[in-house]
Amino acid sequence: MAARSLEYVMVKPLPARVTAAAVAALLAVAGCSSPTTSSGGAGDAGTLVVATAGEPDTLNPVLNYGVDGASLIFDGLVARDAGNRLVPALARDLPTVSADGRTVTAKLREGVLFHDGTPLTAQDVVFTYRAVLDPKVDSTLRSDLDMLASVTAPDPATVVFTLKHPYAPFLQRLALGIVPAKAFAGQDVNKAEFNRRPVGTGPYRVTAWTPGDRLVLAAYDRHWGGRPKNPGVVVAFVADDNVRAQRMRAGEFDAAELAPKLATGFDGQGGYRVQRVPTADYRGVMLPMGNPVTGDLAIRRALNTAVDRQAMVTGVLGGAGEPAFGPVPPSSEFAEPSIVGRAAADPAAATATLDAAGWRPGPDGIRARGGRQAAFTLMYPATDSLRKELALAVTADAKKIGIRVTPEGLTWDAITPRMKTDALVMGYGTPYDPDFVSYKLFGSAFAGQGFFNPGSYRSAVADRALQQGRDSADPAVRRAAYATFQQQLAADVPWVFLTYLQHTYVVKDTVAGVTPRVEPHEHDVANSLWWNVHTWTKRP
C-alpha cells in the first residue's frame, strides 16, 4: 500500500512539469517580441553580407549617424569619391561660396525622391541642419557646425547657409545625410520612430533593423544615381573580434572588418583576400605642458627620436600601419613632407639632445636634472589592447635613453581629470580637412578644455597658421598655413605621433567592385570598406 502511493507520487515529477510550463511561456513571450517579417533585401541571390563591430545607436544623421557621408541610406548635398574629393550629390553642382566666405548656396538636384516616394525639397535640407542646431536635439554634431548662423530656403530648389565667420572647409561639412522634414512633423527628433526605421534618399532603404543582430537593406530602385548593382546588403553586428573571424571562416560573410592579426590568418587562404586600407586614424602620445618632465622641450624631442615607429608597425600592428609624424595623414594634399623623420629609432640623436639640455644619467640609469628625475606616467585606456601595446613599446624605447615611463591602464573617467599633468596615448584623425580635428586639438584657445587640447599646448605660430587655414579660401594660402602648422608641431612636439593605422578587412574572392579609400577613425555601417557597396557584385 505504501509502495503504491509512492509510485503514484512518482509519476508526476514536479520539476519537469514546472520547467515545461516555463519553457512554453518563454517561447510565447519570445514569439510576441520577434520582429515582423518584411519583404525585400535579404534572401535574394546576390545580396551582400558585411560584418562590423560598431553598431550605430540610431540611424538618424541628425543624431550622428554617418555624418561624413557614405551612410548607404542617406545622401548629403555633397559626397566623396574614391579619392575623398568632394563631388555633388543632392546638390546639382558643388555649392558656391560668396566672396566674403560667409554665404554658401546650394542648388538641389531635380527629381530626387525619398524612399517613401515623396520628392526632396530645400525645406528638407533646412530642417536637417536646423535640427542639428536645435539645443533640444541630442546632437553632438552641433559642435562641428558652430560656425553656422542660419540656413534658409529662398525657393524649393535652393538652400542658403549663412556663416558667423568665413570657414574654408565648410563644403566638407555638407556630406551630412538629408532627412525628410515631413517624417518629423509634430515629433521629438530625439525620440522619433524614424531613428529606428529611417527614410532617406540613399541607394538602400531599410527593411529591418534588429539592434545587436543585423541591419537589412534593400536596393532602392529609384535612386537618382541609378539602381544599385546588387539586390541588397545585410550588415551583421558582431562585437567580438574572434567571433567575427570564426563566422567569416564559416562562410557567413562576404566582407568583414577584422583586427590585423586575425586578418593575417586569411592571407594566402583560398577564397579570401585581405584588404589593408590606409586611414587618417593616428595614435600618439600626448605630452602635457603641465608636467615638469614632459613640459621640457628636450625630453619631448628626445622621445620623438627615440621611439621605434617601424618596430611598432611591424610588431604591434602586424604590418597594418605606417609611421606617423604629424596629424595630417600622408594621403592628404596638405601633408608636409619635410616633417617626415626616420621610421626607426635614433637613440644616439636622442641621448645627444638630452645631454645638451643637461639631463645627466643617474646611478640607476635614469637621467636627472636639478634633482628631478626624467620620469613620467603614461596613461592608456585599459580596455584598448592596441594602445596598451603602444604604451609598452614607448616605455621600452624611453628606457633605452634613460627616461623612465610608467604605463598605467585606466578607465576614461579616471584618465580625464589627469590629462593636464599625465601623458596619454590618444588617437583620432580625419582624412577630410586638417582643420577638422587639429584646430581644437592644438589651438591655444582650447587649452585644457576637456578633450580639446588636453595638454595645454600653446604656440602663437601654430595658432596663427590654424586660423589662416580656416579663414582663407585660397588653396595655396591654406597649404602654406598647414605646412607652417605641421613644422611648428614637429619642432615643439606636443605629441609624439607614433603610427597611422590601416583598417583591415577580409573579403571573399567572389565579391567584385571593392574600391578602398582612405578611412577616418570612425567607420561602421557608414564609411567603411563598403562605402561604395552599391557598385559591388557577387559571383554565385
Binding site: 509502495a3 525620440k191 543582430d213
Partner: protein, 334 residues
Amino acid sequence: MTAATAGRRRLAGAGAVVRRRLLVAVPVLAATSMGMFALGAASPIDPAQQYAGAAVFTTSEENLAQIRANWGVDDPLPVQYARWIGNLLRGDLGWSTSRHEPVTSVLAARAGWTLLLVGTALALVLVASVLLGTLAAYRRGGWFDRALRAAAYAVQSMPVFWIGLAAIAVFALALGWLPAGGLTDITATGTDPADVARHLVLPVTVLAISQAPWFVLFVRDAVAESLRDDHVLAARARGLPGRTVLFGHALRTALLPFLTLVGAHLPELVGGAVLVETVFSLPGLGAVTVAAALGADFPLLAATTLATAVVVLAANLATDLAYAAADPRVRLDD
C-alpha cells in the same frame, strides 16, 4: 486519504504566502531601485560623453551640457528618482541614454531572447543533471561516476567564453552542422521558429554545459547520501526493484534541498547568458546591460535589475510552493 487531497491541504496556505511575499517584494524592489540611483549619483561616468562616443573629441562642453540637460541627468538625485517612480507608475520605464530609445522598447525587443535562452538552458541542465547525477550516485565510484566527476571539474574550470568558441570551432567550422552565431540565417527575411531553434542549439547547450557541473555534482552527492538513508535501505530490504528505489525513494528525498538552491543559482545563470550572448552574437539583454553599466544609463540598468529581482523573487516563491507540494513535513500555513 488520497494523495490529491493531501497535496491540496499542504498548499492550503499558498494564497496567504503569495500575498505576504508580494508585500515583502514592494520594499525589496523599492530598495533595489533606490540603490541603483544612489550608485548612479556616485558614478564618475558622464552619460553624455559615453553617448558621444568617438565624437567626444570634437564635441564642446556646452554641447554636452545641453544634452545632459535634455536628459535631466544633472538634476538632484531625489528629483530624478521621483520622476522615475512617477513614470514607472504610469507604465513608462524611462529613456535609455545608452541605447537612445525608450527602455520599454529595449526590453520588448531583447528580453524575450534572453528569457528563451536562460529558460531552455535551465530546463536542459535540470533534466540532464538529475539523470546523470542520479546514475553516477547509483554506481558510486564506478567508471561512469569517475568520468562524470572528472568532466564536471574540467568544465567548471573552463571559461564560458572559451567553451563557446570551442563549440563554434568544432560544430560550425569543422563539422558544419550548426550555425556559428546570430539569431537567424544572416540573409533570412524574418524570424522563422525552426531557423531560430537551429541557431539556439549551440548557445543553449553551451550555457547548459557551463552551468551543469554545479547541478550535477550536487544531485550526485545528495542522491548518494540519501541512498544510505533508513527509508531507502528499508525500501531495498522490502525487495523493491532498483529503479523504483533509486528514482522513487532516493532521488525524491535528495531533490528537496535542490529545489530551493535552483532559485538561488539563477543569477549565475543570467551572468553566463550575458557571455553566451556575446559569443553567439545574440540580440539579448546581456550586451545592452553591460553597455548601460559602462554608460551610466540608469533607467535601463534599473529596469533590467528590477526585472531580474522580480524573476528571482518569483522563482523563490515558486520553489517554496513546490517544496511544500513535494515534502509533507513542510506546511505553508504554519
